[in-house]
């Protein structure tokens, strides 16, 4: 990515005595994971293009605690949550957008009863809003002849019933969207959730991500679109297991849009 990105922290906004329109919650994967960092940058490129006045927390951001909660460590989760809530409330944050459905889910659903109530959006929802409001427009020729299949992240789809926003955004690329035989409510998990991302799977006869990429490959796609950094890793590994990395790429919805700008 050659363009310099414009990213300001909440601290800088405070110093200027201003409030941003929205806070971009980058998440741990988006901050540290090499593949996910590209997704963060693609999303910022979109925000910059649409002239969105957004902030990040930078070094004041800490893990949401989501993965600890799914692993059963309620203590660690609530510690993290309360620390984050203190900072978010201190800055009087109202609206948050994130590229990670796990952060999205926990911020939106599990933070309120601990004292942190915000309007939380998944990045595909926010991109959809930008397009609808006419703040973001593009030709979208880049993927015109491509077949794209979207893998529903469990924590966006089933967990929070958001199936349409990513699909509507993808339509703007003018690619042809193809659905896997299990999609939306009945989508198969990529295998990363519930803290599985951080451990070896239990004994079985196949890895879940290999099974899920098989679903995707059956649609003969050029691109598998994802909306979650963990799904992205899992699907990328799955493609490699099927030895299809030459012909099929795995890209986040934000990347597909950023590349279309």
């Amino acid at each position: 990515m050659s363009e310099a990105l414009k990213v300001k922290t909440m601290e800088e906004f405070m110093a200027e005595g201003k409030q941003p329109e929205i806070l971009f919650w980058v998440g741990s994967a988006g901050s540290y994971d090499d593949r996910a960092k590209k997704i963060s940058r693609a999303f910022v490129k979109i925000l910059n293009r649409a002239n969105v006045d957004f902030a990040v927390l930078g070094s004041e951001e800490s893990c949401t605690g989501d993965v600890a909660k799914r692993a059963g460590n309620e203590f660690l989760f609530q510690m993290q949550a309360m620390m984050n809530i203190e900072i978010l409330n201190g800055y009087e944050i109202k609206r948050i957008v994130t590229c990670d459905p796990h952060s999205f889910n926990t911020l939106k659903n599990e933070y309120p009863s601990l004292g942190g109530s915000y309007q939380v959006l998944h990045h595909t929802q926010f991109i959809k809003e930008l397009i609808e409001q006419g703040r973001l427009s593009f030709e979208g020729g880049m993927y015109k002849d491509k077949r794209i299949t979207f893998h529903d992240p469990c924590y966006l789809g089933r967990a929070n019933s958001e199936f349409d926003a990513p699909r509507e955004v993808l339509k703007k690329t003018n690619a042809s969207l193809v659905e896997m035989k299990r999609s939306r409510k009945s989508a198969l998990c990529c295998g990363a959730g519930g803290a599985q991302m951080f451990k070896e799977p239990e004994k079985g006869d196949m890895d879940i991500n290999v099974m899920r990429t098989k679903d995707a490959l059956e649609t003969n796609p050029n691109i598998i679109a994802t909306g979650c950094p963990y799904c992205n890793t899992m699907m990328t590994d799955g493609i490699k297991a099927h030895e299809k990395e030459e012909s099929v790429s795995v890209l986040d919805v934000a990347e597909l849009i950023a590349n279309s700008l």
């Binding site: 741990s28 930078g58 600890a68 059963g72 203590f75 660690l76 089933r158 929070n160 079985g204 006869d205």
Partner: protein, 440 residues
Amino acid sequence: MQYIPNILFVLALVFGIGFFTRNVKKLTRNIKLGKDVDLSDNSSTRWRNMIRIALGQSKMVVRPIAGLLHVIVYLGFIIINIEVLEIIVDGVLGTHRVFAPLGPVYNFLIGSFEILALLVIVSVVLFWLRRNAIKLQRFIKPEMEGWPKKDGNMILYIELVLMCLFLTMNAADFQLQQLDAPHYTKAGAFPISQFIAAWFQGLSIESLIIIERVAWWIHILGILAFLNYLYYSKHLHIILAFPNTFYGKVKPQGEFNNLASVTNEVKLMMDPNADPFAAPAEDTAEPEKFGASDVMDLSWVQLMNAYTCTECGRCTSECPANQTGKKLSPRKIMMDTRDRLEEVGKNMDANKGEFVPDGKQLLDDYISREEIWACTTCNACVEACPVSIDPLSIIVEMRRFLVMEQSAAPTELNNMMSNIENNGAPWPYNQMDRLNWVNE
């Protein structure tokens, strides 16, 4: 002497219903062993869910063939039971077809019961074939061996026999009406049983009365027996599906509850004014146990879930872990919970209502850690369940116990968690570097 049948009938009825009441009491006692949760919220959504999911069978039709067959058997079962009302009144009063004065309405009712009965027979046969001849994947998993498999077939046999008895009874009745037998009022329409009646041509009135009476008696005794079989069977769902869908999760599936006991402790830890050496308040009870290792640690809804489970396996067939050969099966989680709860209940029965520790628990003795850790928390099981059961919530409670009470998470997860504690991220990176991605 004339009243002997009436007396026998009333006795059978009292005995059947009495036994059923005893089972219901046991059932509620066992469910109440669970922890209390307040579910008085969202009552209009809850009513809607119950009507849509339990009454309207909305989740059943996701799989169209099984769904349609199930709707037939379900409707058949409910509607034909209107007939049971007449049987009971007749049995007690010694009348015959007491609702006959309803005239055309009565004919219509009896006629439609017969058609439904035939449809039920067809569906039950198809169900049996699915279970035994086609060997549908989800019916031959390890947890279905033994009693669960027998139970599944048993219900089909009972339904088949009950429907056949109903039609036989009507056929004999119809024939008796043709012969102007005394006491057999001319009433009802017999679109199906008239064909059975053809076989009864030439039988004497006496023989026909015997056939009619025997079918009538076995039919009603069968229904009473079936009522009492429920408690021991996955068929309990015909009752519990209603409360269970009512009390099912109304929050987004991704939202897990926040443990209030943990919140209190965390708040204390984070409060700069709290005195760490302060003497504990007077009323501090024994610190609450985090998570669940046995059925009493679960909520009453989770225990009701276990009794409601129909063992249909829709959850398991959607489970990514199970599909890829892992040991985890959400159906087994529910079946194990019920089995253990029954064991606890029997223990209490044998010890004057007090539970005497038996050195066993749900975790390890029924559900292994390997199963618990294989879950991706994807909610596919929750989505698939036709009666709003949440197997995932039990898995999470058991993880909470393992992690917070036993520090027994898999090593890799412990590493991940200590990274979060130390660096605010599940990986060992410096929190100061959080913004480096911008300029890379």
